[in-house]
């Protein structure tokens, strides 16, 4: 049966590729459970050892709990704020008529074309002028606004049927009511797709947090973890434990919301 042989060959190729994709994670977990001396023995031991103390060490080296909270609060605030503000603007661009609409939308889109590094020096100066350096608002506030989010949700709103909105308007509902009680419930899938992307970018982002918050108690996990290398770059079991703890929350969200993640990326194709 050539068909069966082909299927086996196909699985063989995919399994080899999967092993290549997963090995770094497996080795990360294995190393995180070793003592430093067994991690640096030659030849290496391939099995984990149950040395959980490395996970405790992460909390000694970094204010890990605080940084975890900073990252979580920042990610949640940016996600909720951005989805809400972007959905408002997107609704207006998709449904309401007002002078300058196309011009303003074009202006919003132009933000998408610019590499984000061009925003950073002036954003930093604003944070500095406001006295916000080393604070959570510095991590959150610029991330509440997004041209990408407006663009994504506008596309989504344009694909929704207008009949319900028309009916509500004839009944005398104002645009806010229509947006809030008719459009938003219909737009759930689009908003979830945006939310998971914003959550991912916000959680994993390094450059901006690194620049604005240099006090370890105000850092996010990405910046805190990056600050470890250099000082502790040889204590690999602890670094592996820390990097695992820092990245697992988003990986878990991804596993639960896989479909929405993939939809969001397939629809927009824009990376953070």
């Amino acid at each position: 049966m050539p068909d069966k042989g082909r299927r086996i060959g196909l699985h063989a190729v995919l399994i080899v590729a999967s092993v290549l994709m997963v090995t770094p994670f497996v080795w990360q977990i294995v190393t995180s459970l070793k003592t430093l001396s067994s991690a640096t023995s030659v030849p290496p031991t391939l099995l984990p050892e149950g040395h959980w103390a490395n996970y405790g060490r992460v909390f000694d080296l970094l204010p890990f709990g605080t940084q975890f909270l900073n990252t979580l609060i920042t990610a949640l605030a940016r996600t909720v704020g951005q989805v809400f503000l972007c959905s408002m603007a997107a609704y207006a661009f998709a449904r309401l008529r007002f002078p300058g609409r196309n011009f303003l939308f074009g202006l919003f889109l132009s933000v998408l074309m610019v590499p984000p590094q061009l925003f950073i020096i002036p954003q930093y100066e604003i944070m500095s002028d406001l006295g916000w350096l080393n604070s959570l608002p510095a991590l959150i506030v610029p991330g509440l606004f997004s041209a990408f989010g407006v663009f994504l949700l506008r596309q989504f709103f344009l694909g929704l049927p207008v009949e319900l909105e028309e009916a509500a308007r004839i009944d005398g509902a104002n645009p806010w009511r229509i947006y809030w009680s008719i459009v938003l419930p219909l737009a759930r899938p689009g908003m979830v797709a945006l939310a998971v992307l914003v959550l991912l970018w916000s959680w994993n982002d390094l450059f901006w947090p690194l620049v604005v918050n240099t006090d370890p108690d105000k850092m996010t996990l990405a910046a805190g973890l990056a600050s470890l290398q250099g000082q502790y770059q040889t204590d690999y079991p602890v670094l592996m434990a820390g990097s695992l703890l820092a990245s697992v929350p988003v990986i878990a969200v991804f596993v639960f919301l896989q479909r929405q993640f993939i939809q969001g990326i397939a629809q927009t194709g824009i990376k953070g």
């Binding site: 196909l10 207006a92 008529r97 933000v111 061009l118 002036p122 610029p142 690194l210 973890l225």
Partner: protein, 301 residues
């Protein structure tokens, strides 16, 4: 009853109210900063804040700065080699584009690196690449090869970085290609099969040409993303004293890393602004070139 005119005015006011928060935020934190950065690139910053207009000085320095030259070479090489992720993603998307047990599991494995924090990814790979105790050199030793100290060896560091980049982006590209493949009508394949075309012929004659617009899009996005590489290389090359101790640092430092260093470590913000203005120019030019070249290879159905 409201008059149509009054109605139009009300609708317009609602429209402005809806966009106002985002318009103000984008204006203050994004649009105005672009203009400011452009202006800053013509200024020199003092040690205690404040800046003075310095004309084209920063750009003149930039052109003659050997470190910027090396950063550009590294960034271009990384960008070009990173495109390898595209053919790999196409091949694996084609393998996964069928009804088969385990497809979603394979897809998840490919996608895991995409959602993992780049700082964590870089740390794990640094450990895999470790010259003395790394898993990769252990594997090589089993077949009698004495592996180098990958990310600290000037001859291998950039390639080692590219491998990480490809490993972490292939799953992302794969998702986009899968979506592109699923948009190709099944009748094309049925007709080709009736004409006796095998799987390979179908792939080269149907899938690839119809996928070329997707590939073009992915290549534009990848180039823009690679040119801005920072997180991975910041951890891989080390920063500050650790970076200076790494002999491979001159072969790793990217344009955005140099920007970080000048703008926020040595606080030479005017020069930092000039670096990112140059980056903007490079992105615009490379994107324009790709749009030009697409006529030669992209088929729009």
């Amino acid at each position: 009853m409201t008059t149509p005119r009054k109605h139009r005015v009300t609708e317009a006011l609602w429209g402005y109210a809806f966009i106002a928060p985002t318009a103000l935020g984008l204006g203050l934190f994004y649009l105005w900063p672009v203009l400011q950065t452009a202006y800053f690139s013509f200024t020199e910053w003092g040690a205690f804040g404040g800046h003075t207009f310095s004309g084209l000085d920063n750009y003149e320095r930039l052109v003659h700065d050997p470190e910027m030259g090396r950063a550009l070479v590294n960034t271009f090489a990384y960008t070009l080699l990173g495109l390898l992720s595209i053919p790999l993603a196409i091949v694996f998307a084609a393998l996964l584009n069928r009804k088969m047990r385990g497809v979603s599991v394979y897809r998840t494995f490919f996608f895991l690196p995409v959602v993992t924090m780049p700082v964590a990814v870089a740390m794990v790979w640094r450990w895999l690449y470790n010259g003395d105790y790394g898993l990769i050199n252990y594997g090589l030793s089993l077949v009698g090869v004495d592996g180098p100290n990958w990310v600290a060896d000037p001859d291998t560091a950039l390639y080692a970085l590219v491998v990480i980049g490809v490993w972490s982006s292939v799953g992302y590209n794969l998702i986009i290609f899968l979506a592109g493949m699923q948009a190709i009508p099944a009748d094309y394949y049925e007709a080709a099969a009736l004409d006796g075309a095998g799987a390979f012929r179908q792939f080269f004659r149907i899938t690839l040409p119809l996928l070329s617009p997707t590939a073009f899009f992915v290549s534009v996005v990848s180039v823009i993303g690679s040119l801005q590489l920072f997180d991975l290389v910041y951890v891989i090359s080390g920063s500050g004293a650790a970076a200076r101790a790494n002999p491979a640092f001159p072969r790793l430092q990217t344009v955005v890393q140099l920007f970080y260093d000048r703008a926020f470590v040595t606080n030479d913000r005017g020069y930092g602004a000039a670096i990112v203005m140059a980056l903007l120019l490079i992105i615009v030019v490379l994107t324009a070139i790709q749009f030009r070249l697409q006529k030669r290879w992209v088929h729009y159905a």
